[in-house]
Symmetry: none
């Protein structure tokens, strides 16, 4: 075998072990008995040790030096392997293991703290996690910016400065749009009533299918925090239900289906290779958000959903499809990011982006985090946070040391805005299909333009190629202002 073949065989095993790690995470959130947490932490730490040893194996350096790429795909595989290798080598094995162990326990403590609204319970664990995360950032940064070093894990090529510039352009127009909507006093009916869980789950499964999710290679379970997990031939999603909020279930499902279809749509030539996964979190989020919002919350698609909800739950008080479209897109003050509408969502993210940059830079202490959160929230949303579970404890990310992850949510929305503009141009009659619950013209377009490439095209490249222009926040803002000006008659 050639050096390239040896290297790829080795990588294939590493990717397979990485899939197992993902499966343990899925199990932890969906199936694991609560008393197994301590043992699971040891299991994941042991596997993390194995993965770390493989990712820093000195043979990789030899193979990389000897390997002769035969084509552009091989060239990208090698580039990807080289980048990851150099990064992983910088993080000591014991730090990697400590992070795995600490975050696994911190996650449990966070869940308890959120349930009991007790930030002080979580704070000591968060201090540990943050300290390890900063240590990791310093090791990776090699003299460069700490936050840039962390970003690279989620959005290769992105920088704090670029994101800050883009987000600075977003924030004032979003704050302004939000204020105009909330001051408009336009009557948009709220959803009321009790929606049976079995009906929610059945319609949720139907929505997953309508958006192209393949359950031969996946499954849907319930979890506290919806997520998508796995790559290749086993891509699982979760959703959740609340009796009075079926939209949460439906749009969580569509969102996760967007992630899952990206993974399921990747060219099988890349299976269990470094290119066999979505290329970045931002591009991933662009898929989940375009599925959820630009398609799933469109006037045409909500018309179809309105009918299916009436079939499933009977009359629920909103007889008119146009009114239902407003209901689905209703903007109200709220504390929770994952429940936020399209207009306010990014303001939630920008808050986290700014706070976590302060934490990583060491300019903000965990002991001051809750106050900082509440102050900033009041500034952008004009409301005082009433309890930690509605504020600083609402998200899982920091308990898992995912600093640098949040901005990819908004970046994903920006990308989705670009892609949506392009696919509407390419598919003029898209609404005719969406109105029948058929998303395939759009999801097929995305599969061809984005999904199949996996990691072959870099984030900015795949978005630029698909949308015909360099990514910018303009299309998203134009789309939001047009859509909500119409709904709220601004």
């Amino acid at each position: 075998m050639s050096a390239y073949e040896d290297l790829m065989a080795f990588q294939r095993e590493t990717e397979a072990l990485g899939q197992i790690m993902g499966r343990l995470g899925w199990d932890q959130e969906t199936m694991m008995p609560e008393g197994a947490a301590q043992q699971r932490a040891e299991e994941m730490a042991a596997l993390d040790g194995v993965l770390h040893a493989r990712k820093t194996d000195p043979r990789i350096a030899d193979w990389l030096e000897a390997a002769k790429p035969a084509d552009p795909v091989a060239e990208r595989q090698l580039e990807e392997i080289r980048t990851r290798y150099e990064r992983t080598q910088r993080v000591p094995a014991d730090l990697s293991a400590a992070l795995a162990r600490t975050t696994s326990l911190a996650h449990r403590v966070w869940a308890e703290a959120r349930a009991t609204d007790d930030f002080d319970l979580f704070a000591p664990k968060l201090i540990e996690v943050l300290s390890l995360a900063r240590e990791k950032a310093a090791a990776l940064a090699d003299g460069g910016g700490l936050y840039d070093a962390l970003l690279e894990d989620y959005e290769p090529g992105a920088t704090e400065a670029e994101l800050e510039a883009m987000f600075s352009a977003l924030r004032p127009r979003l704050v302004a749009l939000r204020e105009r909507i909330l001051e408009a006093d336009t009557p948009v009916p709220a959803l009321n009533g009790h929606f049976a869980e079995d009906g929610q789950l059945a319609l949720s499964a139907e929505l997953a299918k309508a958006f192209g999710y393949n359950t031969i290679h996946g499954r849907i379970d319930k979890a506290v925090h919806p997520f998508s997990s796995g790559s290749g031939l086993d891509v699982r999603i979760t959703t959740r239900t609340a009796p009075e909020d079926p939209f949460n279930c439906f749009y969580s499902t569509i969102h996760e289906v967007g992630h899952a279809c990206y993974e399921q749509g990747i060219d099988t030539d890349y299976l269990l290779t470094p290119l066999g996964r979505g290329v970045s979190m931002g591009v991933h989020e662009s898929q989940s958000r375009i599925y959820e919002n630009q398609l799933g919350r469109s006037r045409a698609f909500t018309g179809w959903l309105h009918g299916r909800m009436k079939d499933t739950f009977g009359d629920f008080g909103i007889a008119d499809s146009e009114a239902f479209y407003g209901t689905v897109n209703r903007c109200t003050p709220g504390f929770i990011r994952t429940e936020a509408d399209e207009v306010q969502y990014n303001l939630h993210v920008l808050l986290r982006f700014d706070l976590e940059r302060e934490l990583i830079a060491g300019r903000l202490e965990v002991s001051d985090l809750q106050d900082a959160w509440n102050e900033r929230f009041f500034k952008d949303f004009g409301v005082a946070v009433d309890k930690p579970s509605n504020g600083v404890l609402q998200d899982v990310h920091w308990s898992e040391a995912l600093f640098g992850y949040f901005p990819t949510y908004t970046l994903g929305n920006v990308y989705a805005g670009c892609l949506h503009q392009a696919l509407r141009r390419d598919i003029p009659d898209l609404d005719d299909h969406l109105a029948k619950g058929d998303t395939s013209p759009a999801t097929d377009w995305l599969k061809t333009a984005i999904h199949k490439h996996g990691g072959f095209l870099k984030p900015v490249d795949v978005i630029s190629k698909a949308s015909g222009a360099a990514p910018s926040e303009g299309p998203l803002l134009d789309y939001l202002e047009a859509k909500f000006s119409e709904i709220y008659r601004l």
Copy 2:
């Protein structure tokens, strides 16, 4: 750290990785999407490679040489590690790989052969598996007996000669008891009717709880074949349902709960160490069988179960508890080991024990195996096997090279007989508790006498210590003859 501590830290990680492998097996049988099989095979092969490398790691030899055990537990840990390491060293890597490859293929051919009732399809594969198994036995035996060498994987310390002596004493009395029962013509009602799946699963969960299964550290799911999986803080079981056979569900559950409670009851000091698992297959089976049979199929407990079944399913045609006790323990002619009653079960096992010893010794050719099976079956059961799926093709074990596994089923029953005699002596009013669905006096007794020791006491030692005498077949035979003489009025 001392050499002992280094070694134990290494072992702890290996055990944790072994637990992950078990979890993947569980997922495959309960949760995995059908289209994920190919990827899962690669994932498990990658993890198997990691485990094999750790088990043959030369540092183990160094640590073993340098380690100074500080107490009897440390001494046993080292003994266990040494034994496993030396055994793993004796099997050449290419033989190990050939066995993995061949059994994987043979397993698939066996499934097809069983489905099409075609022994000739399976025979060539079995010849290959047998040849490799004999080669492995020779490598392990190091001049000793081939079958003894294989037994060691399942029942450390057991020998072919001892088992043969014990089983020779069992066979005539079991054959005689079976004949007397079937000739007695005593009316014992069969169970008839349709039992709703949700009722079966609810009562199954109640039975699991009644037998002490702790779902804080476990969970129950459905699978085609019931099994127990995992050790320590995460021990999961599966069960199955068939509309006309709720006993299959209930007693599969109780059986697997027996295995699971053994694992859950092990002293947590042994967590993720070589002593942190049940000590042998025979002792494991003694727990599953005493839960299932001596306790679960006792007159007192079936009285309680009878009431719960009436509560759950309404009138199902057997109004009287005494008649129900007969129904639960009903003996009928049958071909299939896994469906056999307490009397006939061991005759199925003895047949396999004798045939596989002949195969391993080279005194029986695979080409003569089917005839040998049918001849022996007719001798012990008085019925001609009608098709291979009811005969030589019914069990998966030989396709997977599990020669030496079968006798542990009967050894487990023998051990269960000894333990049952002892615990009845110690708990004179046990039936008063069982009649109320309370198994705790017995299961607590077993936890103290057996479970908590994990791998610290060797198989024969733990049984002897608990039952107050060296294991023998006498108590099992006495129990069976008394129980079934009464039910069948012999």
